[in-house]
Symmetry: C2
Subunit: 304 residues, 2 copies
């Protein structure tokens, strides 16, 4: 199966600590990297994860709180110093470009590459980006400021050719691409060999959903449902449920409830409040509702 890995670069909340970095993740899908959020210190965490800067071309920012975007200017500057030439694409709300433009003009003048912003609206539910491997859909979350989640939906891969059947029917190489794309094979004699005899179905496309800072909101189920892996913020334990509502965050139990309602395969929780020196309380509370829950942690990689 081709790579679909989630690298956790930071999973703390607003106050960075010596235990947790500010929020950032990198998705490695078929060796292309996509970054979600970019808190302070992300570039160093990226190096620590031994990822390749040159494979990163798209960054998605969920909202404009500092712990989700203060690392952007440093990352962009470093790319310039390293001689990057490929355009870097940044997908977010229009305000991100407005607030970054003066910094880019001042600190990044004369860089050998371009930063291109791709703004989308606050309530956007569109596919905001797609390529051969993936489509990325935004959807609105319920936070103190405009905030969105992202659905990373893998594109279907071609069927696997059954080599022994190709040999059996003596099918010429020139036909392989067509068969991979689902066509039947017609022999010189006019016999139709059905595609299903010549191929094995590809692995089903995978789906990763990132729920950034948000209050629990059942309306999100429509976007989350069927995910192979759901990342959901879990800032607080259940004892702080009132504080979670007040600050537009979720408890671990609420994250698990979202996973359960949406029928996802696995749940990954993060964005931990600095008050927890051991997040097992969050894990335990989530697992009571949704057993297949795991804790995010800097440096860990979760495979879909």
């Amino acid at each position: 199966m081709e790579k679909f890995d989630i690298h956790i670069l930071g999973c703390g909340s607003a106050l960075p600590t010596t235990r947790h970095n500010a929020t950032s993740q990198v998705i490695n899908l078929r060796d292309k990297l996509y970054m979600i959020d970019c808190g302070e210190g992300t570039q160093t965490q990226f190096r620590r994860a031994q990822l390749s800067f040159s494979r990163l071309n798209h960054i998605f920012i969920s909202h404009l709180h500092g712990d989700h975007c203060f690392g952007l200017i440093g990352l962009i500057s470093t790319f310039g110093l390293l001689g990057r030439t490929a355009t870097l694409h940044v997908h977010s709300f229009p305000e991100l470009e407005e607030v970054m433009r003066p910094q880019l003009d001042f600190f990044c003048d004369g860089m050998p590459y371009d930063v291109e912003f791709h703004p989308f609206s606050h309530g956007c539910t569109d596919i905001i980006y797609e390529d051969r491997s993936v489509s990325v859909q935004a959807f609105p979350l319920s936070h103190r400021v405009p905030c969105c989640g992202f659905v990373f939906q893998e594109k279907p891969t071609a069927a696997h050719i059954r080599r022994e059947m190709i040999d059996f029917y003596g099918i010429p190489f020139s036909q392989i691409a067509r068969i991979k794309n689902g066509e039947d094979y017609v022999t010189p004699e006019g016999d139709v060999i059905s595609n299903s005899r010549l191929t094995l179905p590809a692995a089903p496309p995978r789906k990763y959903v990132y729920c950034s800072d948000t209050r629990f909101n059942p309306n999100n189920v429509q976007y989350v449902k069927g995910a192979d892996l759901l990342f959901h913020e879990a800032t607080f334990a259940e004892s702080e449920v009132a504080r979670a509502a007040q600050t537009f965050h979720s408890t671990a139990r609420q994250a698990a409830e979202m996973a359960r309602l949406s029928g996802v395969k696995q749940l990954l929780i993060g964005h931990f409040s600095a008050r927890y020196t051991d997040e097992r309380i969050l894990l335990d509370e989530a697992r009571e509702v949704f057993p297949s829950t795991r804790l995010a942690e800097e440096g860990r990689v979760f495979q879909l």
Copy 2:
């Protein structure tokens, strides 16, 4: 002797690595903290050094390259989240406020404390700040953009009272403050007891000089001379002397030459290029010229 400690929070150069953070230092002088430069990740390094945020009221930024100031916005935001009420004073060139103002307006609106900028001109050689403990003088360096060094000159402390002499002459408590300030004591009988019999001289005031990014420039000797400790950038080894000149940086040997010409007591080198995985080559080259040289390193504290 009262504290005059230099905490190294970051001593890498423009490209942060997993070994070195971007530039920042904190001076602890008599339990008041003064920060010099604030590269990305400084707030986390500050926590790691177990320093107290509430004792930090003044930040000095040497120049507007990202590796010396990208950590400011995160530090300022965090202070807001922690409920700080005391004004934070930022001393730098006027351009710093210009580039930070849009960020502060966007991200830090409604914080419970003020950030006050104290701009000074590019070629400034004035004392830009002073309080009861210290005066801070700026002086121009030779970098690709306007850049300055800082002289931290401790204020003289009061003389030490010789308690046994006070008892011997039966001097009342009400006279102690005067004697500390250098006055003689006149007995009720009219005899003059000279101050020098009643006190021991205070420790001589100490001087710390910070030479940020700069090409070697003998003109700086006038500011550096007589320092107890000189921090000088040493980005390159001698094999890269041409590159050092071209990029307006110094070699370790040039840093040592500045220390020798200025007659300082100790030299501390930092701002190491990412190309050196072991800085001993820099230390060795500096020590050939100025034996009393030490290597900066994250987490280390150097006492004056």
